[in-house]
């Protein structure tokens, strides 16, 4: 048989179709490492099998025997910072139960970095420099097209507060209590997100305190948590915090999240006691997580996250 008439299995055909995008993916990973290495960050590797994970109402961990697969490397990286190692970065595999859509895979690549700071400014600066460096390395320019839309990673990123965005697009003030989290999420995905990041990255920042997660409250306004998200063309790419290092406040938030998980009919993971114990040693630190697969989608001009991973969920 000549090689032309040998037909591949459907899986091999699909894999072949991904080669071009996987090469772009490699370029993105190389550019990320080059950027942080040149800035003096130390690359670390934290475990995937964990005794517990951060208690978050809407992030369900995958259980593996008597362990959990990491939902993110966040707690372990901050333990390293608390031990005195900073700035650090990592590209880790993370796992979240039941997340599957054109922007979600239940297993994904997450880039996290932590550095000294007590405002969101250094994170925005890092994001700008990193995104410009990646687009230069991969595209040879900070300007490129994604799904026929022009994108510019080179301009300074506009910053919009959650309050401003909701007043403009949903016509209500999310800082006026009590906050209805379902209404917030509904209006966020239907009205606010589609307007964010037109033509280039945009920062959404200063979240209502009840949605602070592991972020510190603003010293001048306790209604606000110092948390940011980065959007490009409505796609959420990053989530960053000025890190909360008050163990009592953090314990209270984990307990509230645990109770909410019980109400949803699930079993919460044990509280991360070793993290809470080390928290007073965490110096003023800012940290952020970037969804690398989504970033590759933009740079490889892909419409679906499944197109930029070698194997999508349950394909291997």
């Amino acid at each position: 048989m000549s090689s032309e008439s040998t037909s591949d299995s459907p899986l091999l055909t699909r894999l072949k179709g991904r080669h071009r995008r996987l090469k772009v993916r490699h370029q993105v990973f190389k550019a990320i490492r080059g950027f942080f290495d040149s800035q003096g960050f130390v690359e670390v590797h934290t475990p995937q099998l964990l005794k517990t994970v951060a208690t978050e109402e809407h992030i369900e961990p995958v259980q593996a025997g008597d362990r959990f697969l990491a939902t993110s490397p966040e707690l372990e990286m901050k333990l390293l910072v608390a031990s005195g190692l900073s700035p650090i970065y990592q590209i880790a595999r993370s796992h979240r139960q039941g997340e599957r859509g054109s922007r979600h895979q239940p297993e994904f690549a997450i880039l996290e970095w932590y550095r000294p700071g007590n405002t969101l400014d250094p994170l925005v600066e890092d994001l700008q420099n990193l995104f410009a460096a990646i687009s230069q390395a991969v595209k040879g320019s900070t300007q490129f097209f994604w799904q026929q839309r022009p994108i510019d990673f080179g301009a300074s990123f506009p910053r919009t507060s959650v309050q401003e965005a909701f007043l403009n697009e949903a016509h209500w003030d999310p800082l006026t209590p009590p906050l209805d989290p379902l209404k917030f999420d509904m209006d966020l995905v239907e009205k606010v997100e589609p307007t964010l990041g037109k033509g280039g990255p945009e920062v959404l920042e200063r979240y209502p305190a009840p949605l602070g997660s592991l972020a510190r409250l603003a010293p001048e306004d306790p209604r606000v948590a110092l948390r940011l998200e980065l959007y490009v063309e409505g796609i959420e790419l990053a989530n960053g915090f000025v890190e909360l290092n008050d163990p009592e406040q953090q314990r209270q938030r984990f307990i509230e999240a645990s109770e909410a998980i019980v109400k949803l009919g699930r079993t919460p993971p044990p509280l991360p006691e070793s993290y809470l114990e080390a928290l007073p040693n965490l110096p003023d630190t800012v940290g952020i997580a970037v969804g690398v697969d989504r970033l590759v989608m933009l740079l490889a001009d892909a419409a679906d996250i499944a197109d930029v991973v070698a194997f999508e969920h349950l394909e291997a």
């Binding site: 599957r100 859509g101 999420d185 509904m186």
Partner: protein, 189 residues
């Protein structure tokens, strides 16, 4: 009636809303950072044909609408309408091009497709995942352009243009994935 949860919604399924059947023409899983899982749906009212968007949260339950699917054969196209026949009952149906959707890229005479019937009326069709179509037009490709991926555009019998490897010739048959519109392989017929 079978009840389903929001997480089981998928494109092509019909659900009852306020006693009216609605077809899910689009469905997107969304989950804002730290927020809850939501399902952004594009729904089509099967009585009026009007379309609208609605977001549901995980855990919401729905009643599945009583629509049936049946094999029908494509006969011909006339203007904006596509004509089909049920090969068992010889009953004929017409569908507007908007209801045929992207499937029209791959329809050729006598092709058998699945029709979604509500009240005995077709409201949409579903193609097999793969179709085999004849290459009807393929221009000679200029040598030397093998570096840029080694593909060329050809037209297939349905009028659709697809990127194929350079060795594909006019008159040959190719398999196409109807979900992505991409070439899969050459088929010897």
């Amino acid at each position: 009636m079978a009840g389903i949860e929001a997480g089981q919604l998928k494109r092509g399924l019909a659900i009852m809303l306020e006693n009216v059947p609605h077809l899910l023409v689009g469905m997107e899983f969304v989950k804002p950072g730290k927020g809850q899982a939501l399902y952004k749906c594009r729904l089509k009212n099967l009585n009026t044909g009007s379309q609208f968007d609605r977001t549901y949260r995980s855990g919401e339950r729905f009643e599945v609408a009583d629509v049936e699917d049946r094999d029908i054969q494509f006969l011909y196209r006339e203007g904006e309408y596509f004509h089909f026949m049920n090969s068992e009952t010889y009953e004929q149906y017409q569908l507007h091009q908007d209801d045929v959707g992207e499937a029209q890229n791959f329809l050729v005479d006598s092709m058998v497709v699945k029709a979604l019937l509500f009240d005995g009326r077709p409201i949409g069709i579903e193609l097999p995942n793969f179709v085999v179509l004849e290459v009807t037009q393929s221009e000679a490709w200029i040598k030397g352009d093998t570096a840029s991926g080694a593909t060329k555009p050809v037209e297939v019998a349905s009028g659709y243009t697809v990127q194929v490897p350079l060795f594909i010739k006019q008159g040959e048959f190719v398999k196409i994935d109807t979900r992505t519109g991409d070439y899969v392989e050459r088929v010897n017929k």
